[in-house]
Symmetry: C2
Subunit: 126 residues, 2 copies
DNA sequence: TTACAATATTCCAAAACAGGAATGTAGTCA
DNA sequence: TGACTACATTCCTGTTTTGGAATATTGTAA
């Protein structure tokens, strides 16, 4: 997950892929969602999500290295916060896609009760 | 990579993570970029990107299952096309982020020649 | 300093993933 | 039908990634 300066097209693709891979983890998405509400200490994330401390710490480090979260020391603890609202824009776009798909599937199913063939339905459902 | 109907919050997070993981691969991003220009047969992708046929076929299948590309048989060949412009919206958002970061780093470096301490720079660069 | 709390890091095992080679399948043409 | 082409799938291997346990680091308080 190198943080090299972008020069060639291929390198920037790699950077994009790296960022997507940071978001391609269920636990990290849960943590981000928790941080969306408000910043939180590591220990709070551990408690709320019932995860191991080392696990949370590693995931937060990955996201920090990717520039997705900020951190701020507060005495003994470290408060993490979402550093770039980009994260939620990306997730919302994906969720919108799922909504569109769910709606079109529902539309097709509704139509199916009005007499469209199974073949057409299966094709429309991909 | 299940395509289950979404019910709980956690399941939808998982679907989002799955979609990001499809995009978290350099080869798949290259293929998508190629398909952005115009639809292409598998053999064309193999030639343009100098990849193995089995490799391309597998990546296209993954993206097809994820609903990111469409396919259409044409005689002996199969033409793939980008099925959801969402892909490019996502990539563009990520690229914009990288641009913002690159610019702010450049700004800081420029300022550094005007006499700001290394400590400040390092902190600003994270 | 010592003891303790919060977080980070290292090491390990299991699971997931990408790519190559070989094989399977489906369409075309003769 | 058989030969050929385009694509998909299976099997295998090396690499990466995740999570847990143990350990290390950093800060606080006495």
């Amino acid at each position: 997950m190198g943080k090299a300066v972008m020069t060639s097209r291929s390198e920037s693709f790699e950077a994009v892929a790296d960022l997507f891979s940071v978001l391609a983890d269920l636990t990290r998405l849960k943590i981000l969602h928790l941080l969306e509400g408000q910043p939180a200490f590591v220990s709070a994330v551990v408690k709320r999500l019932k995860l191991k401390q080392a696990n949370v710490s590693k995931h937060l480090s990955v996201m920090y290295d990717a520039g997705l979260v900020d951190r701020e020391r507060n005495g003994n603890q470290i408060r993490y916060s979402v550093g770039d609202p980009l994260v939620f824009e990306l997730c919302n776009l994906v969720c919108q896609k799922f909504h569109r798909e769910a709606q079109s599937k529902a539309r097709i199913l509704r139509r199916s009760r009005l007499g469209i063939s199974f073949k057409t339905i299966r094709k429309a459902l991909r």
